[in-house]
Symmetry: C2
């Protein structure tokens, strides 16, 4: 199995980095091929802009998605995007590993999504959800956060974490056709004991070694919608 781990934490000694290192270790022990994009270490540029295109489909007016298609077809998309896109298309499993910033990814990782999940290759027209360009691959999100698990229960103050992360789990990863596993969440990380952190690493190690057996989250199927995206039953 080929694994791509995309990691985004500003502190190399963070617990999030330990989750990343654990994942590398477990996958390599399992004989898998592991690529790592450590976005802070790479100084990854997260800003989607006209500078991403060596030449332009329309030099006068930038529709970012159309320029992505043009850039990929013509091999003129920015080399830093092309490198990440190649890693993504080659992988069987994508791991996004990050601390939750405002119930989402840090901006540097959001920019990886904005720039690397290119229109045409990854999605486009009615090629999304179970018809997306990344179907057949799996994805898992591993996060750390300050809140406690009970704050994310059904009667918790924030509601379920899957609701807060819907834009990412369903709207981004699921949208591209990936089979998305339940997120791995390190609750309350800045406040817990070293013992609890070690227990979290152990739990992560256990999940990693049996990801292939997990059932992905359920997302909409385009089989249930007509070509204009109206529900077929109505």
């Amino acid at each position: 199995m080929k694994v791509l781990i995309v990691h985004a934490h500003p502190e190399p000694k963070s617990f999030s980095s330990a989750l990343k290192d654990t994942a590398i270790e477990v996958f390599r022990e399992g004989g898998h091929d592991v690529q790592v994009s450590d976005l802070y270490a790479m100084g990854f540029n997260p800003v989607a802009s006209v500078d991403d295109f060596g030449n332009r489909a329309n030099p006068d007016y930038c529709v970012y998605a159309l320029e992505q298609r043009h850039g990929v077809s013509n091999g003129t998309i920015s080399p830093d995007i092309q490198r990440e896109l190649d890693k993504l298309m080659q992988c069987d499993l994508l791991v996004l590993n990050f601390p939750v910033f405002w119930f989402s990814t840090p901006a540097i990782l959001k920019g990886w999504l904005d720039r690397v999940l290119v229109s045409g290759t990854v999605y486009g027209g009615t090629r999304f959800y179970d018809r997306g360009g990344l179907r057949g691959k799996r994805a898992i999100v591993s996060v750390t956060l300050g809140g406690q698990a009970h704050m994310f229960g059904n009667d918790g103050v924030h509601g379920p974490i899957e609701g807060m992360l819907r834009h990412l789990l369903q709207g981004t990863l699921g949208y591209t056709g990936l089979d998305v596993l339940a997120p791995f969440v390190g609750w309350h990380v800045p406040y817990v004991s070293n013992e609890e952190r070690l227990a979290l690493l152990k739990a992560w190690r256990q999940r990693l070694s049996s990801l292939e057996e997990e059932t992905p989250l359920a997302f909409p199927s385009l089989d249930d919608f007509d070509e204009n995206m109206y529900p077929k039953s109505s």
Copy 2:
């Protein structure tokens, strides 16, 4: 009323930019004071990092939120953050205006949220939702997207837009204590006629002139939770 418009679109001639210009015009006509942070034009740096702090509470290990507190208290936070924070704290209404990228903000705007919504001033400990640091101010999100309105109905393929934007509307803006109004959504913008675009601008203009009369979205109240964030009724 003091208004802060934070705008993030890579194409200055975009329809999203027209929404921004319309907002500036309507607010100025109404005698309001308008500040604009046009993040692409400013070349805003979206990457939260150790470089954001002139000196450090802990030079050996960066907990970003703790360094934010230290930086704001000591006046040593990066000047580009301090400038935006000053605009934010002075405003009565915050407008976030952007194209939806992956059911969220473009990375450059995510980075504005990551870096400017500083711990201590904006939130912290149990100061969130109706006890957040920005309570008393209002916010509205105005977005453009490619999808059509019926794709975001209750039986639509993506479900309600408020669900996809929950991390932003509730988890970010609501979390800081802002009174968040229903988003203004320009559906299907890349595909609609010029007439339809003009109708959208007219609808936006109408909403802008009566925002004060609108009822904000409902979010949790900390009155319903004890000091450990367990529901009081349980």
